[in-house]
Structure formats: structure tokens, C-alpha cells
């Protein structure tokens, strides 16, 4: 059986780091804060690995099915006997997998930051924030009920707000952190309403019971939720769709993705942790957590999830081809890959071989965490070296930064889906799942995978090849970064290369039963060929400095420009908020507020003052009058209750 203390310690250790660094960091432990935080997260990571081993190979499987355990559950706030908010820990395949991902990537980022932020004035504060973030993310993963997940969901939002805005003297960082916070808060509003709807109809907040009550068609709760409709959709559908809205906001799905590229203003290791491996996949995790509800009770919402994921995947891939800031390329790439995970869930069914999409999604989440964190950390090393985010300031770095170059190449090959690296296996599974259930999405995914290979190698060639390093007057300062920055790169590269060989189908599936592993060379031919073509085109255009990219851009004209400007979605939002909301709605509301509401309030205030003046006379200070009023009160009450009311 799971050991509640071990599991509870996994989130609590980083929380202890947060408390220690946050309270004493500035004065007492300063530079030691980094080592402290790293040691604590190392403890968490070891516990998480142990828990995973224990779960998958010792007690998790009963009769060939992986069970869900709730080793700890405390009633936190009891509303009524039936409805209470609990704080619990849930242990099942996806939560265990996420524990490993979060603690491992967080550990890498902790180590890497020792070098990356060395000499930073607010070093201890940074580690305090990292600890808070890791704690919240682990709490989110382990949440056993939907309200608990919401609490940690918001905590994750707050800590990512703090981390994105870490360089608070930079106005763009402050603006980005605000944007991320507001956009995700907006989405979370939907999430909260969704929670209220689902819990109102199911009468519980607990995941297990909520799923059980809403998925069995005979239950009264499911019937009631399906029967009451609003705007043509049942309450259940609304609830599920709104919950997904929260997930889409956190996971930067189209059209709620606009905060993610801007969030790159934060320190690069933070991007690796939050915007590659952990927080942005929270939405995917949420959908997976409630997957039975989506799959069995609201197939329409699930189909919507599939389409949102597919659209996000291709839109982001197209935009990524045109960006010149290397972190923004990675940001759009992340959005595109999360789109993959989303539509993999969207095309999946519950249980059996039709549940392949579910497994594939979780598999891709796992491999993506490895190679994308690696890409971000590698990009961080490059930025650290050249002091710029722009491609034009880079080039020819392969000799200067051999370790970074080699690990970055592995990650690029992996994400491009080159055979025998981890990304290949997970992406093949996703494509296969899509192929069997929704052909339109399959073709979108196929095109996206070609684009992915292209933009990743565009990035790779522009950084490490293209022009000779001296061509842009680069300085010859420090080296690549010490061991602390190289070690995480190497470890993640091992993960990015080898994670594909984990037999995921046997461990994680929608209903807990093992899944047959599919592997078909013939099926893989098309995506692999497309990927290789993408790489070849990128090599042709960017291997050596030449005029081809500009010619290409000018010949594509409007399309290129639109993609470069991210399809003007930011501008659209600005138009809606500034022009429509602020001017049209805001002005009217302000007028209403000034004249009508203020008028009413003033009226109330004036009346209050008048009444208060009136009753002040009673407060005369003369004790004999008090006695009279006292007696009068008694007589009045007595008369009323004895004669009138009885």
C-alpha cells in the first residue's frame, strides 16, 4: 500500500525550501539558499522515483488493472454532512508519472539555476519562488478533489506570476507577468463556474465519486445534470466545457494562448520549468484526470477538445516558423506540442484499445517534458553566452559550445520525430490514435509534424551554423557555463533520447489495463519522411548564410507577415478590450455608476445621516430617560406579543 508520509513529503519538501528561503533567505542563508533548495528537491525526486517504482511494480496492480489509491484524506471544511472540501493525496498512474516529471525537471532547473543566476541579487528569493512553484504544482498533481486542484491551480498561477515578473525592474517582464495572470485568471473563472456546476449536480467534489456519479447513466445525478439545459446544451456539457476552458487557459490553447510567448520574459530556467514541462501541461492533466466524464458523458466536449488541440498545434507551428526570438520559437513550439497532447485526448475513447489516444497523450507529455526542458535550458545557455535572444546575433556556435550543441541537436531530432529517439515513439502513437478515429485531425497533425521539423532545425542551424561566429562581432568572454549548467543538459539529453523505451502502454491507460504496444514501420513512413523533408528544407535555407530566407519571405508576402505578427490575435484582443470593452461598455458603465449608483448611494448616505441624527436624541446621556425607553420597550413588546401575536 502507498505510504502516505512519503507521498506527502514530496510536495512538502519544496514547501519547506520556500519557507526557509523566503523567511531567512535575504538575511541569513543568501547564497546557501540555492544549495538548500536543490538538496530538498533532490529528496523529493528520490521519493517520487521510489513512489513510482513502488506503485508500478509492487502494489499498484490488482488483477491486471492499475488501481487508484487515496492514502490520505483530511476533511478541511465541512459544509454539510454530504458536501465537504477535503485535502487528499491521490495515487494513480498519471499522478505518479507527473510526480516523476515535475520533481525531475524541477531538480534539473534547480541545479542549472545555480550557475545561471549566480551573483543575482535576489538569488534566495528566486529559490523561494521555485520552491513555492514546485510545491503548488505537486499539490495540483496529487489533488484528490476538484476544489483542491483549483486551490493549487491558483497557487501555481500566483507563483508563476512571481517568477515571470522576477526581473521586476524590466517593464516588459512586469507587463508579461500581468498578462499571463489576467488571461489565465479569465480562463479560471470559467473553470470555477464549471466546478460549481459539476459539483452542484453530482453533490460531491471528490474526483472518484464525481466520476462515478456522472458517468453511470442510471445515476440520479447524471440524469439531473443531463436533463437541465441551457442554450441548447445540457448542464453537464456546460460544466465540462467550462472546466476545459480553465485547462485551455493554463495550457495556452488557442485562442487563450496569447500569454505564453510574452511569459518568456522570465528567467530562462523558469521557462524550462513552467512553460515547457509542468504548468502548461496542467490543462492536459486536468482533462486526463476527468477523462471518464469527458469520454463517457460529454463526447461533444471531447470532440471540441480534439479540435481546439489540433488548431492550436498547427497555428502555433506556423507562427513558430517566422519568429526570430529563439525563446518565442520555443514557446510556440510548446503550444503546438501541447496541442498534440490535447487532440490525442480528444480523439481517444474510454477503455480498451480505443483508449490509445489517452496513453499517447500522457506518453507525449512525458517525453515532451524531457526534450522541451532540454531545449529551453540549452537556449538559456546560448542566451547566457551571447547576451541576446535574437537569431541574428547567433550563428556558428557549435565549436564554442560543444556540449550545448550536442544536447540541443538530440532534443531537436527528438521533437522532429526522428526514429529511435523518444519524441518519435510518442508522436507515432498520437498519430496512430488520430488516424483511427478522426482523419481530418490526422492530416493536420501530419502537416504539423513536418512544420515542427522545419522550425526546430531552422532554430538549430541559425544558432549553431549559418554564419561564422566572428561575423557578428561576438565577444570572447566566458566559456559555456560550468558543470552545474552542463550536468542538467546531459541528464535531460539522456532522457530525451531514451524516454521512448519506457513501455508506457503497459503502465498508463484510460482504464488501468495494459495496452498492446503498436509499432508499424509502414505507418511511420509518412511522418518520418515529412520530418526529414522539413529538416532538409531547413538545412537548405539556413545551413549557410544566404538570401534564400528573405526571398522566400517576400514571395510569401501577406501570409508570412500575418504569421510573423502571430495572426494579429493580440491586436484583436487589444481591440476588443480597449475599444469595445473600455470605451463602449466602460463609458456607459461609468456613466451609470456616476449618476445612478452614486446617486443612490448618496441618497442612502444622506438618509443614514438624517436617521442617525434622529436616533442620537435617544442617546441623551440621562439615565432616567434610558430607564423610560427600557420600560417602553418592554411594554411595547409585551403588548404586542400578549395581545396581537399569540
Amino acid at each position: 500500500m502507498p505510504n502516505a508520509i512519503n507521498i506527502a513529503l514530496i510536495p512538502l519538501l519544496p514547501f519547506a525550501g520556500f519557507l526557509l528561503s523566503g523567511l531567512f533567505g535575504r538575511k541569513y542563508i543568501r547564497n546557501f539558499a540555492g544549495m538548500l533548495g536543490t538538496a530538498l528537491i533532490l529528496g523529493s525526486a528520490i521519493l517520487a522515483l521510489y513512489t513510482a517504482y513502488d506503485y508500478f511494480f509492487v502494489y499498484g496492480k490488482v488483477d491486471g488493472v492499475y488501481q487508484q489509491f487515496v492514502p490520505l484524506k483530511i476533511t478541511w471544511l465541512a459544509f454539510t454532512k454530504e458536501l465537504s472540501i477535503d485535502m487528499g493525496l491521490v495515487i494513480d498512474p498519471i499522478s505518479v508519472m507527473m510526480l516523476v516529471v515535475v520533481t525531475f525537471v524541477s531538480l534539473m532547473v534547480h541545479i542549472y539555476s545555480l550557475g545561471y543566476l549566480k551573483g543575482e541579487e535576489r538569488f534566495a528569493t528566486y529559490y523561494a519562488y521555485l520552491g513555492l512553484f514546485t510545491f503548488s504544482m505537486l499539490g495540483l498533481v496529487l489533488a484528490s478533489n476538484i476544489f483542491q486542484i483549483y486551490i493549487f491551480w491558483e497557487l501555481v498561477g500566483v507563483s508563476s506570476f512571481l517568477l515571470i515578473g522576477f526581473y521586476y525592474d524590466k517593464p516588459s517582464a512586469v507587463a508579461a507577468s500581468k498578462k499571463a495572470f489576467i488571461v489565465t485568471r479569465f480562463a479560471d473563472l470559467g473553470f470555477l463556474i464549471g466546478i460549481l456546476i459539476l459539483s452542484y449536480f453530482s453533490g460531491t467534489l471528490d474526483f472518484q465519486e464525481l466520476i462515478a456519479r456522472l458517468t453511470s447513466p442510471e445515476s440520479n445525478e447524471a440524469k439531473a445534470a443531463a436533463a437541465s439545459t441551457f442554450l441548447g446544451a445540457s448542464a453537464l456539457t456546460w460544466g465540462a466545457a467550462l472546466v476545459f476552458m480553465g485547462g485551455a487557459g493554463k495550457s495556452a490553447m488557442f485562442p487563450l494562448h496569447i500569454w505564453l510567448p510574452d511569459a518568456m520574459e522570465g528567467p530562462t530556467p523558469v521557462s524550462a520549468l513552467i512553460h515547457a514541462a509542468t504548468m502548461v501541461v496542467a490543462g492536459v492533466y486536468l482533462v486526463a484526470r476527468l477523462f471518464p466524464v469527458f469520454a463517457l458523458s460529454t463526447p461533444a466536449v471531447l470532440e471540441m477538445i480534439g479540435w481546439v488541440g489540433a488548431v492550436s498545434a498547427i497555428v502555433a507551428a506556423v507562427i513558430a516558423c517566422t519568429q526570430t526570438d529563439i525563446k518565442r520559437v520555443l514557446a510556440y513550439s510548446t503550444m503546438s506540442q501541447i496541442g498534440y497532447m490535447m487532440f490525442a485526448l480528444g480523439v481517444s475513447k474510454y477503455g480498451g484499445e480505443a483508449g490509445l489516444g489517452y496513453t499517447a497523450s500522457m506518453f507525449h507529455l512525458f517525453t515532451h517534458a524531457m526534450f522541451k526542458a532540454l531545449l529551453f535550458l540549452g537556449a538559456g545557455a546560448v542566451i547566457h553566452y551571447v547576451h541576446s535572444n535574437e537569431m541574428k546575433d547567433m550563428g556558428g556556435l557549435r565549436k564554442k559550445m560543444p556540449v550545448t550543441h550536442f544536447t540541443f541537436l538530440i532534443a531537436c531530432l527528438s521533437i522532429a520525430g526522428v526514429p529511435f529517439l523518444s519524441g518519435f515513439y510518442s508522436k507515432e502513437e498520437i498519430l496512430l490514435a488520430a488516424y483511427h478515429s478522426n482523419t481530418a485531425i490526422y492530416y493536420i497533425a501530419l502537416v504539423t509534424s513536418g512544420l515542427t521539423a522545419f522550425y526546430m532545425f531552422r532554430l538549430y542551424f541559425n544558432i549553431f551554423w549559418n554564419k561564422p561566429y566572428e561575423a557578428h562581432g561576438g565577444h570572447h568572454g566566458h566559456g559555456e557555463g560550468g558543470l552545474v549548467m552542463m550536468l542538467p543538459l546531459i541528464l535531460l539529453a539522456i532522457g530525451a533520447a531514451g524516454a521512448g523505451y519506457i513501455p508506457f502502454g503497459e503502465l498508463v491507460s484510460s482504464d488501468g489495463k495494459a495496452l498492446e504496444s503498436h509499432f508499424d514501420i509502414a505507418f511511420s513512413a509518412a511522418p518520418v519522411l515529412l520530418g526529414l523533408t522539413g529538416i532538409a528544407v531547413a538545412a537548405w535555407m539556413y545551413l549557410k548564410e544566404n538570401k534564400k530566407p528573405e526571398n522566400m519571405a517576400s514571395s510569401l508576402g501577406g501570409i508570412y507577415k500575418a504569421a510573423y505578427h502571430k495572426f494579429y490575435i493580440d491586436e484583436l484582443y487589444l481591440f476588443i478590450t480597449k475599444k469595445v470593452l473600455f470605451n463602449l461598455v466602460g463609458r456607459t458603465a461609468a456613466w451609470f455608476d456616476r449618476t445612478i449608483v452614486d446617486g443612490l448611494v448618496n441618497l442612502t448616505g444622506n438618509t443614514t445621516v438624517l436617521v442617525a441624527e434622529g436616533i442620537k436624541k435617544f442617546q441623551s446621556g440621562k439615565v432616567q430617560q434610558y430607564a423610560i425607553y427600557f420600560l417602553a420597550g418592554v411594554v411595547l413588546l409585551a403588548a404586542f406579543f400578549v395581545y396581537v401575536w399569540r
Binding site: 471544511l77 443614514t608 442617525a612 435617544f618 442617546q619 439615565v623 434610558y626 420597550g633 406579543f641 399569540r646
Partner: protein, 465 residues
């Protein structure tokens, strides 16, 4: 004999302390500097002892009874008295008659203990007097101040008046039922007009003690004139004790008249909240402000009283605990500033944050809690009170309550704005806070934060029912 000790141990320990103080007083004069810490330690020991050797049972031919809920209530009151001895330490240290002050205060507390435990109208009446008369003497403790004497005078006269009414009510009840035993009375009442009249008299006496409108007029003068230690004792400890016995009386003894007192409680709850809020809105003096806001808080307690079910009792006990922390923190801060600088107006508090951040944070915490803003304990307190009150599905009532909550939010936040945001060229200078006061304020602050977060406190009180 053994049972006698364990059942009455709260009263016995308190009596022991009272006698000890008496001997100290009679013997050689002990300086305040040594006496006050001694008293504080004794009160702490008294509070801690309250958690041991608890039994349920009846004594003296059913005149006295105790249950674990009653013990809990007594513990809460003990805690409050201990906190008062801490947060008002500066003023206490200066009084000439420290031993007498605590003699009076503890006697009043003893009276309250007997009152809560009384199962007989006679004991109830006697203990009510014991809980009142010493407080009137305490109100007079600022000997050189005229207002203090005036407040004491008004209090003794008004409470004599209310006692007269109460005795009238008791004799009518005895006359119609032939019994003064509370458990029996519950079965004997038959809603005859004479009994209803008696009940109204009864109710008026309680309303007087709780400062329910329209029986609240004495409150403002007494609160303002008395030293802060007395004001906080009156507004927190007295109110809490009377609220406890009030609920027991209504729920147990006057249960046959529930349809009458429900109406009464609802109407008076609204009146009390509205009038209390209206007055608090206009106050400039921080003590008067807290006094009137405490009238409004009693209105909120009445909301839970109207529920007539166990959750009402639980939520009131919980609220009183929270209220002790919140109100004593606010009074404590006001006491420190008044004692050190003589400033009592809310306008003087402008810019306090610049000079006294610690006091400002404690004050903000307590006012947030009094206003019922999450995540302070006050929020949960109000939440449970209103949840209990909505048991009767009287939604208009709940809407009015909610509106009053908003009004109270306004005036509590007004003080917070003055402290944190308003500019002031002449703010309160930085004051040094002595160790006991700091300890008291920290306990209150921690209580405000922790009591809300730990749901088992509420659950524990609920299990006592």
C-alpha cells in the same frame, strides 16, 4: 466529594485565585511590577487547567450542572480574561489598586461561571448579579476621570432597573408554574398570556445585558467612560457569557414559546445590526467606534440564535472564541496607543503604518476579522452564524443580514484606510510595546489566523453538542 471537586473545578480554582489575591492585598503591599506577572501566570495556569479533569454531572439537588460544552465555554472565557491581562498590561501596571481590580474582575467571572452552569432560576439570578455588580465598580477605576464615575453610576442604576424587571419575570413564572428548576420549567410552560409577559420581562433583562436595541442605551456611555480594560471585558467576556446562557434558556427552557421568540429575535437582530452600524459609521473616537461595532456584532450573534438548533449553539460558541481574539487585538492596539500618546481619534491613526508597522498589521488583521473578510477567522465565524441562521429558510432576513455585513465592511475598512493609506504630517510617534502586550497581541493575531484555518476547532465544538 471527589465528584464535587471535579465538577466545580473551574469555580474552585477561580475562588482559590481570588482568595490568594485577597491575602496578598491584606498582607504587605506587593508592587505592581511583581504582582501583575504573578496574576498573568495564575490566569494562564487557570486557563490551561481548564482542559483537565472534566466531567459532566449535576450538583446540589439539580441546582448546578456542567457538561463538556459548558466547560468549553468557561475555557473560552478564561482565555479572554488572560488575554485582557496581557494586552492591557500597560494600563494595569499604573493603577493604584491592581489587586482589587482583579479581585473584582475574577469575582465577576466567577459569577458568569455559575450563571452558565445554573439549572435553577435562583442560582441564575444570584450569579447574574455577581457577574454585574463588580463590573460596575471596575467601570469606576479611572478614579480621577469624571466620565468613568458617571459611566459606573449609569451602569449600576440601569442594571438595577433591569434586575427589577427580571425578578418580576421570575416571580411571574414561579407563580404560574410553581417551579424554579430550569429542566422542569421546559415542561410546565403552556403559553398563557401571563407567561408570555413573564418571558418578555426575562427577555428584556437579557437584551439589556447583551445591549440589544432598544435596551442598549447605557452601552455607549459606559464603554466610553470606562478604562479600556473594563470596556474590553464588558464587550467581550460579559457578552460572551450572557450569550451562552441566553441560548441555553431559549433553546431549553422557553422552547414551547419558540414561535414567539423567533419573531422577537429576528426583529431585534435586524434592529440591533442596523442601529449598531449606523452609530459605528459616525464615530470618531476609536473606543466608541469599537463599542458600537460590538453592538452590531451582537446582532449577528442573534442571527444564529434564531436558528433554534444545535448548529446555532456551536456557531455562537465558535464566534465568541473568534470574537475574543479579534476584538481584544483591536482594543489592545487602541489601549497601547491611548496609553502612550493619549490619542483616541480615528483621524490620529492616519499614517500609523509608517511609524508603527507591527501595531498596524495587528489592527488590520483584527478589523479584517471583525468585518468577516476571508481568510481570517472572522469570516468563518460569520459564515457559520449565517449558515445557522438560514436554517429557517427566512431568506429576507438573510438578505438584510448580508446588507448589514456590507455596511460594516465599509466602516472597518475606513479605519484600515486611515492606517495604511492616508497621509499625515503628524502621525502617532513610534511607541515601544512592552513584552506582555506584545505577547498578547501576537496570541490574538495568531488566533485570528489559525482558528479559521483549523476546521477541527469548529468540528470539536460541534461534537460537544
Amino acid at each position: 466529594m471527589n465528584e464535587f471537586f471535579s465538577l466545580m473545578k473551574s469555580e474552585l480554582v477561580l475562588t482559590g485565585i481570588i482568595f490568594l489575591l485577597l491575602f496578598i492585598k491584606i498582607g504587605k503591599g506587593v508592587k505592581n511590577e511583581t504582582l501583575l506577572p504573578l496574576i498573568q501566570v495564575l490566569l494562564l495556569a487557570n486557563f490551561l487547567f481548564g482542559f483537565f479533569l472534566n466531567k459532566q454531572g449535576r450538583l446540589f439537588g439539580d441546582m448546578y450542572y456542567t457538561t463538556s460544552l459548558i466547560v468549553m465555554q468557561k475555557n473560552i472565557l478564561n482565555l479572554g480574561v488572560y488575554l485582557i491581562s496581557l494586552v492591557c498590561a500597560d494600563w494595569l501596571k499604573k493603577t493604584q489598586h491592581l489587586a482589587e481590580f482583579f479581585l473584582l474582575m475574577l469575582s465577576a467571572l466567577l459569577g458568569m461561571f455559575f450563571m452558565i452552569s445554573s439549572a435553577n432560576l435562583l442560582i441564575f439570578y444570584l450569579s447574574l448579579e455577581l457577574a454585574t455588580i463588580p463590573v460596575a465598580a471596575m467601570a469606576n477605576f479611572d478614579l480621577e476621570k469624571k466620565t468613568s464615575a458617571e459611566g459606573a453610576m449609569k451602569m449600576i442604576l440601569s442594571s438595577a432597573f433591569s434586575s427589577g424587571i427580571l425578578l418580576f419575570g421570575i416571580s411571574l413564572i414561579y407563580g404560574t408554574t410553581g417551579s424554579i428548576s430550569l429542566p422542569q420549567l421546559g415542561q410546565l410552560l403552556d403559553n398563557s398570556p401571563l407567561q408570555i409577559l413573564a418571558f418578555i420581562f426575562f427577555f428584556a433583562a437579557f437584551a439589556f445585558k447583551l445591549s440589544i436595541v432598544p435596551f442598549h442605551l447605557w452601552t455607549a456611555d459606559v464603554y466610553e467612560g470606562s478604562p479600556i480594560a473594563v470596556t474590553s471585558f464588558l464587550s467581550v467576556i460579559s457578552k460572551g457569557a450572557v450569550a451562552f446562557i441566553f441560548m441555553t434558556m431559549l433553546f431549553r427552557v422557553f422552547q414551547p414559546m419558540a414561535h414567539i421568540w423567533y419573531q422577537l429575535v429576528v426583529v431585534l437582530a435586524i434592529a440591533t445590526m442596523v442601529i449598531g452600524n449606523l452609530f459605528a459609521l459616525r464615530q470618531q473616537n476609536i473606543k466608541r467606534f469599537l463599542a458600537f461595532s460590538s453592538i452590531a456584532q451582537v446582532g449577528f450573534i442573534l442571527v444564529a440564535v434564531s436558528s433554534n438548533d444545535p448548529m446555532g449553539i456551536t456557531s455562537v460558541v465558535y464566534f465568541v472564541l473568534v470574537y475574543i481574539f479579534s476584538n481584544l487585538a483591536a482594543f489592545g492596539v487602541a489601549a497601547v496607543i491611548t496609553e502612550k500618546t493619549g490619542k483616541e481619534n480615528i483621524d490620529d491613526y492616519k499614517g500609523l503604518y509608517k511609524t508603527n508597522p507591527f501595531l498596524s498589521w495587528i489592527l488590520a488583521l483584527s478589523l479584517f476579522s471583525l468585518a468577516g473578510i476571508p481568510p481570517t477567522a472572522g469570516f468563518f465565524g460569520k459564515l457559520f452564524l449565517i449558515t445557522a441562521g438560514s436554517a429557517n429558510a427566512n431568506y429576507w432576513f438573510i438578505i438584510v443580514v448580508a446588507l448589514n455585513l456590507i455596511v460594516s465592511l465599509y466602516y472597518y475598512l475606513r479605519v484600515i484606510r486611515a492606517v495604511f493609506m492616508d497621509k499625515n504630517d503628524n502621525p502617532v510617534e513610534p511607541v515601544t510595546i512592552s513584552a506582555p502586550v506584545r505577547l498578547g497581541l501576537l496570541i490574538c493575531g495568531a488566533g485570528i489566523v489559525i482558528t479559521g484555518m483549523l476546521s477541527w476547532i469548529y468540528d470539536y465544538i460541534y461534537t460537544l453538542k
